[in-house]
């Protein structure tokens, strides 16, 4: 590391390293963010859930979408539709999407998260009742 020689340089460095803490900062106020929960049960993983998660993370990063956080969750019970993701927009009921692939991910981001439009492949919510 060469010495930082001005306040400007410090500001630059800060911008660069800010992402190191991204996950922690987001976690700290997760309830204010759009949370994308990828179901990571065995069936999900087999169907490519980990890949889905990576794509989400990368897309969010590439597009600088600081209001979205990707987390993982347990089997949601829609094994027929794996990989599944649950998207929680603050103030709205959670929505689950099935058979998610790269194309769908882009749609979820562009249409549902950004514009609030629903799209095909929404799985009717049942697990809410199950929890209660």
């Amino acid at each position: 590391m060469s010495k930082i020689k001005s306040f400007e340089e410090l500001k630059q460095l800060r911008k660069k390293v800010l992402t190191h803490m991204d996950i922690r900062e987001k976690g700290d106020h997760i309830e204010e963010l759009v949370e994308v929960r990828v179901a990571m049960a065995t069936c999900g993983i087999a169907a490519g859930a980990r890949e889905v998660m990576n794509i989400f993370v990368n897309k969010i990063a590439d597009q600088g979408l600081n209001n979205i956080v990707v987390t993982q969750t347990d089997c949601m019970g829609y094994c027929y539709a794996e990989p599944t993701v649950e998207v929680r927009v603050p103030g709205k009921e959670p929505v689950v999407f099935g058979k998610v692939d790269e194309e769908k991910i882009q749609k979820i981001i562009d249409q549902y998260i950004k514009k609030g439009e629903l799209l095909d492949g929404v799985i009717p919510m049942t697990h809410k009742e199950m929890e209660d």
Partner: protein, 597 residues
């Protein structure tokens, strides 16, 4: 954007490390490698989370899952279940003591709900050994701002405006102290960080240095700029090896990045810091004693004036602030004095860190806005009294403070209210006592401490604390008289008024406050020779109730001195002359026929 998808934070404070948290880190890392996830999940050893009662703490992000009392063997489950499969490990989650429900996110725990973390903002969040994480949290930004956009006078004005008061005990306005140091004319000045944390039970300074050392380095440099000093010293007790190690690392990194050394951030300002070790004498927390100790002299206070801001280390103007005070500096300069003033009370803005200890459910380190009531701290955050017992008193301010009772629970805590109530803020130790605690014994405990820790310089402290402790010994061993109580009070008042430094002046506080609040308990000791709390063994009597005793002979067999006699199946009795009051019979009697009075 980092490639990590998840962060696992593991508490690396001294307390959790002694509960093998380092092994937890190692196991998690190994397990991640097995699952080829080491590139996706970052494991971070952080500073203290504060919830020491339930340590070691492991926190998984971004889903903000808070695991408590984690053992090294639990690492596999956390990785394989939570990280791989997204299934939270239910048995490691914190259970709300009321609803018994598991709470995943620490924000919803009572312990954290009412807290506001300013001084501890980075503790349990950043890796203290990673300067870039600190920078990402706006670290050294305040220093950059101060050096490039503010004059020293403006810095001092801002601190003065913030109303920040010294967190080390007395609550002296920090900005004013800086101003005095600035105005003292000298070719050389020093900034000293007082990290000689000595109150029994208080560990906030250690935690800050362990969890967020850069904030202290940054604040000291800012202070140096403000008062016109180019050299800083951190006086830290050698019993804090981890804090020393992390601070040293922070100083080295700060130097490498150009936040310490010559021409910081390309400006004309230069600042160097050196660590000085103390041997852990309580009195060396007093600033003049601290300075003498740093000079290699005997650690004892000298009269003020001259104040260190005029004549301190090597006779040069020296600004001494404690760790927690410094930890507040960068954020005040970042967010502004007005922001800070809005927190806390009018005369004591900001927050205060408290170390909760004693008979309280949630032992740990907390930070709350000034003006929070004792009740909120003890019952909401602290989770109330252990084992459902009754709250009796709380000692604030360590050995220099006093004990507060039920009637003080709704007092908003700040520097002045605590003094009004006969106690003080001190460094923020809070020891909670329940109905089983004998107040004269509590006073005796503290006086034994000050008696040991007195430097021995002035008469009232050297001899006075000894006499107080002797009197309390008499009272708690059943040899006390009512005259002793009067003497206790007279001596306490005189010591308070005449001792040379803060240590001696406050040493009688535990005596006076217990005497004022629990006089009847003292009287019971000296008049009836009874200890109502049942703690003073010398005053106890064990007796067997002949009605309840079934003559099982257990008590006679466990008695180590053969004080209990009786025939099988007939009531037994205890010979009081032989009984050593060990309580073995009491603990073992199957029919609870033995009473303790």
């Amino acid at each position: 954007m980092s490639k990590y998808k998840m962060h696992v934070l593991v508490c690396g404070g001294t307390g959790c490390i002694s509960s093998e948290s380092e092994k937890i880190v190692k196991n998690i890392q190994e397990c991640l490698i097995q699952h080829k996830l080491e590139e996706e999940v970052q494991v971070v050893q952080t500073g203290c989370f504060g919830f020491c009662e339930k340590g070691p703490i492991v926190k998984v992000l971004p889903d903000n899952t808070f695991y408590v009392q984690v053992k090294p063997d639990d690492a596999i489950e956390i990785v394989e279940e939570h990280i791989v499969k997204g299934r939270k490990v239910d048995r490691l989650l914190y259970k709300d003591p009321g609803s018994k429900k598991a709470i995943e996110d620490s924000k919803h725990m009572d312990f954290y709900k009412k807290q506001m973390r300013i001084a501890l903002r980075n503790c349990g969040f950043v890796n203290p050994n990673n300067i870039e994480e600190y920078i990402a949290r706006n670290g050294y930004y305040a220093l950059g701002k101060v050096l490039t956009e503010m004059t020293p006078e403006q810095v001092i004005d801002e601190i003065k405006k913030s109303g920040l008061r010294g967190r080390g005990g007395g609550g002296f306005p920090t900005g004013l102290k800086w101003e005095f140091s600035r105005k003292s004319k000298s070719d050389k000045k020093y900034v000293v960080c007082n990290a000689d944390e000595g109150d029994p039970g208080a560990f906030m300074d250690r935690s800050i240095l362990e969890g967020d050392p850069h904030s202290i380095v940054e604040a000291m440099a800012i202070c140096g700029y403000a008062i016109g000093a180019d050299e800083g010293k951190v006086y830290i007790r050698a019993e804090y090896p981890l804090a020393i190690q992390r601070l040293q690392k922070a100083m080295n990194d700060a130097e490498e990045y150009g936040f310490l050394g010559d021409h910081i951030l390309g400006t004309d300002f230069s600042f160097h810091i050196e660590i000085r070790y103390g041997a852990g004498a309580f009195v060396c927390g007093e600033e003049t004693a601290l300075i003498h100790s740093m000079e290699g002299e005997r650690g004892e206070p000298t009269i003020k004036p001259p104040f260190p801001s005029e004549s301190g280390f090597w006779g040069k103007p020296t600004n001494v602030n404690n760790v927690e005070t410094f930890a507040n500096i960068p954020i005040i300069l970042l967010k502004g004095a007005d922001w800070f003033r809005k927190i806390g009370t009018k005369k004591s803005p900001g927050t205060k860190v408290f170390a909760l200890a004693g008979k309280i459910n949630n032992v740990g380190l907390i930070e709350v806005p000034m003006g929070t009531t004792l009740r909120e701290v003890i019952f909401d955050i602290g989770g109330g009294i252990k084992d459902g017992k009754k709250f009796k008193a709380v000692q604030t301010g360590g050995p220099s403070g006093g004990c507060l009772t039920e009637k003080d629970l709704d007092t908003p805590i700040d520097f002045d209210t605590l003094v009004e109530k006969g106690s003080m803020m001190g460094s923020g130790g809070m020891i909670v006592m329940d109905e089983d605690d004998c107040m004269p014994s509590v006073a005796k405990f503290y006086l034994e401490f000050t008696e040991e820790e007195s430097c021995g310089k002035c008469t009232p402290c050297r001899i006075g604390t000894k006499r107080l402790s002797e009197l309390l010994k008499k009272i708690t061993s059943g040899q006390g008289t009512e005259a002793h109580l009067q003497e206790l009070r007279r001596l306490s008042v005189v010591i308070k008024e005449t001792a040379l430094c803060g240590l001696g002046q406050t040493a009688p506080n535990p005596v006076l406050s217990t005497l004022n609040n629990f006089e009847e308990e003292y009287i019971a000791h000296v008049k009836d020779h009874q200890c109502p709390a049942g703690q003073c063994t010398a005053l106890l009597q064990y007796k067997i109730d002949p009605e309840t005793c079934v003559g099982c002979t257990v008590c006679a067999r466990v008695c180590p001195v053969n004080a209990i006699t009786g025939e099988r199946k007939k009531p037994h009795s205890i010979d009081q002359k032989i009984c050593i009051k060990c309580g073995s019979c009491y603990d073992r009697c199957p029919t609870h026929a033995i009473e303790k009075r």
